[in-house]
């Protein structure tokens, strides 16, 4: 920052009452260069650390949210509220075809996938296991979620008699591609529902709980077998952007009948939302500790400053400078040292983040299972966000102002005659 700029900033046009505090505050920084650079360095370090880690967190959350919603749940789901309470087969959404057309026409909606969901007994030969049968519209699912693409062996659904089994379920049943699988369940009216399907593919999502029970079949044959008409249990919606999902939820809630429950992804996957919140809180505590330590060092620095310059403050008081103006001068010093620290810290953090946004951080072999479990890829990519760039500078600006103010308040009670004697 140039002296000319400071002079310009310090002049109040017309009044002639300038603000010498700004210029003196800036120059005072350089009376003890080592202390200034140490203080600014501490601030830069904390801003760099906090902004970089926050960018990593934001990137990680974005990936977790996108991966989790893209896998199976979608960004928004619609169900009959009673189905959400008890998961009873008969609590369906009626007139599903018209509803789907209406939802597809809503701005911000990319795709809608209808699902019929039930639990049934799956048998191959002598072996039987409980399975979660999903009746799906494969074309709509392919536009909406990713799990249907995770075929480890065989192919996806094409014909009305096709079935895709979770890899673990298939192993438990002893089923292979081409085998027949018999489905037995309870139909809508309480009667027995039965289907005979051909295993055409094995699905491996990497989620053990899913792979152990999941079985996919085309929606129409499942509806027919289980006594459903134009009904579904769930409508899975992919929004144009996960960030737009909450506004889409509001729109759909207003436009659709009250008998339907429209849920954002964070209500569908509360454990993910809670995991992110817990991680965010942990991060905030860590950031708070880092920034508090730096602020304490700034307090220490300004205590030293005030004690070292007591005589000078006494002189300023003696020649008629009001205490508030002297305090203001110290606040400017704190502002400038913080500005230097924040500028350095943010420059480094943004530089590092931009680079890592390109190359990512490889999590390593050991982390791959863990990463998959939490819907994360094997590389972490940070994301620049306003929050990551604003929080630590803002906290540091407030913190350093307070850090300077605490010792500076001593000036209010400073008697010029004592201060001039250096007491």
């Amino acid at each position: 920052m140039s002296e000319a700029a400071l002079d310009h900033a310090s002049a109040e046009p017309g009044s002639g009452r300038g603000m010498p505090s700004i210029r003196i505050g800036w120059r005072n920084l350089w009376r003890n260069r080592r202390r200034t650079w140490l203080t600014a360095g501490g601030i830069a370090f904390s801003v760099f650390l906090v902004a970089s880690f926050m960018a990593l967190q934001v990137g990680q959350y974005d990936v977790m949210m996108e991966n989790a919603t893209a896998l199976m749940s979608g960004h928004v789901q619609i169900q009959n509220p009673e189905y959400l309470d008890d998961a009873r087969f008969e609590d369906t959404i009626e007139d599903a075809g018209a509803l789907i057309d209406r939802i597809r026409a809503t701005p911000g909606v990319l795709s809608v996938a209808p699902r019929v969901e039930t639990f049934a007994l799956a048998s191959v030969g002598e072996r039987s296991f409980g399975a979660q049968l999903l009746g799906i519209d494969i074309a709509a699912e392919l536009e909406t979620v990713r799990f249907v693409k995770m075929i480890r062996e065989g192919r996806t659904l094409e014909g009305p008699d096709d079935a895709v089994l979770g890899a673990t379920l298939a192993r438990n049943l002893g089923a292979a591609i081409g085998d027949e699988v018999v489905i037995l369940g309870s139909g809508r009216e309480g009667g027995v529902a039965a289907m005979v399907l051909n295993v055409v593919g094995l699905l491996e999502t990497g989620m053990a709980d899913l792979d152990r029970v999941l079985m996919l079949a085309p929606i129409e044959p499942v509806r027919a077998a289980f006594g459903l008409g134009d009904e579904v249990h769930s409508l899975i919606i992919r929004a144009e952007d996960v960030a737009r999902a909450p506004s889409l939820v509001r729109t759909l809630s207003e436009e659709l009948p009250d008998s339907l429950e429209v849920r954002n992804w964070d209500r569908v996957l509360p454990e993910l939302k809670q995991g992110i919140e817990v991680d965010r809180i942990g991060g905030r505590i860590m950031y708070g500790i880092i920034m508090a330590l730096v602020v304490f060092s700034v307090v220490n620095s300004f205590i030293m400053t005030v004690f070292e310059r007591t005589r000078e403050f006494g002189m300023l008081r003696a020649i008629g400078m009001r205490p508030l103006r002297i305090i203001l001068m110290l606040q400017w010093e704190a502002f400038f040292v913080c500005l230097i620290g924040v500028a350095i810290g943010l420059t480094l953090a943004v530089g590092l983040t931009l680079w890592l946004m390109e190359v990512g951080i490889y999590l390593g072999e050991a982390m791959q299972d863990y990463a998959r479990q939490f819907y994360m890829p094997d590389r972490m990519y940070p994301a620049l966000s306003l929050e990551a760039l604003m929080v630590s500078p803002l906290v540091m600006f407030i913190g350093t102002q307070l850090a300077a103010l605490l010792p500076a308040l001593r000036i209010r009670s400073l008697k010029p005659v004592d201060a001039l004697r250096g007491e």
């Binding site: 005072n28 008629g320 001039l420």
Partner: protein
């Protein structure tokens, strides 16, 4: 008819020094007329600096009243005292006490900036004052780049550039050699005689006393000799 710039009546001031009360001023009556050059002399602990500080509003008396240019200091708040010092007084300290991060010109301008004088005017006045005090080549130098005598002259320039009614100088020659002291005293004498600046200085330097028109001697907090009274 006298025209007192300073009017002190029954001033007493007692300090606590390690819980032992020290009577710095005892029932002092003291006036300074406009245009006077007064030296307060006496040994260490005689009360000369305390009297100077009380007149300057830097210290408050325990008893008695102080008026400067018709304003009673006793009733003023600390902020009002600051404003009074800014508007009516100039200070020259033993240790120069310039602002180390400002140049000579900026130091002189600074006090006018506090007074709200427009930039152009204060710049011209500061430069003219430095020229008058023989510091025209020093205006861009910071205090650390000047000799003691030069710094003290800048301090004088800062003190008188606002045309104060009263210039207070506490041991102004304490850190100067005799030649520089004489230069400073000639400067103060010129300001007093040519510009009518009222000067009160606390000193134990006989050379300083010799330049003052009026010598006041203190001992143990009391005025024991005043050349003005003797003349009367």
């Amino acid at each position: 008819m006298s025209d007192p710039v300073v009017r002190c009546r029954s001033i007493s001031r007692t300090y606590q020094d390690d819980s032992v009360p020290v009577r710095a001023l005892v029932n002092v009556d003291f006036d300074v007329d406009r245009g006077e050059f007064v030296s307060l002399a006496g040994p260490s602990g005689s009360g000369k600096s305390t009297l100077l500080n009380v007149i300057g509003g830097l210290d408050r008396p325990d008893e008695g009243t102080v008026e400067v240019d018709g304003v009673s200091l006793n009733e003023l708040s600390e902020s009002a005292l600051s404003d009074l010092r800014l508007r009516k007084m100039g200070f020259v300290f033993q240790a120069y006490n310039l602002i180390p991060v400002l140049s000579a010109l900026e130091n002189v301008e600074f006090i006018m900036q506090l007074q709200g004088i427009p930039a152009q005017e204060r710049h011209e006045r500061a430069r003219a004052m430095l020229d008058e005090l023989g510091l025209s080549g020093m205006s861009d130098r910071r205090p650390g780049e000047m000799s003691g005598g030069q710094q003290q002259r800048v301090a004088v320039a800062r003190a008188v550039v606002t045309h104060p009614v009263l210039l207070l100088a506490d041991e102004p020659s304490a850190n100067l050699d005799s030649r520089t002291t004489e230069e400073l005293l000639k400067l103060l004498q010129r300001l007093n005689e040519d510009h009518g600046v009222t000067i009160v200085t606390a000193t134990h330097d006989p050379l300083v006393m010799s330049y003052a028109k009026r010598q006041v001697r203190l001992r143990d907090g009391e005025i024991i000799e005043d050349s003005a009274r003797q003349a009367a």
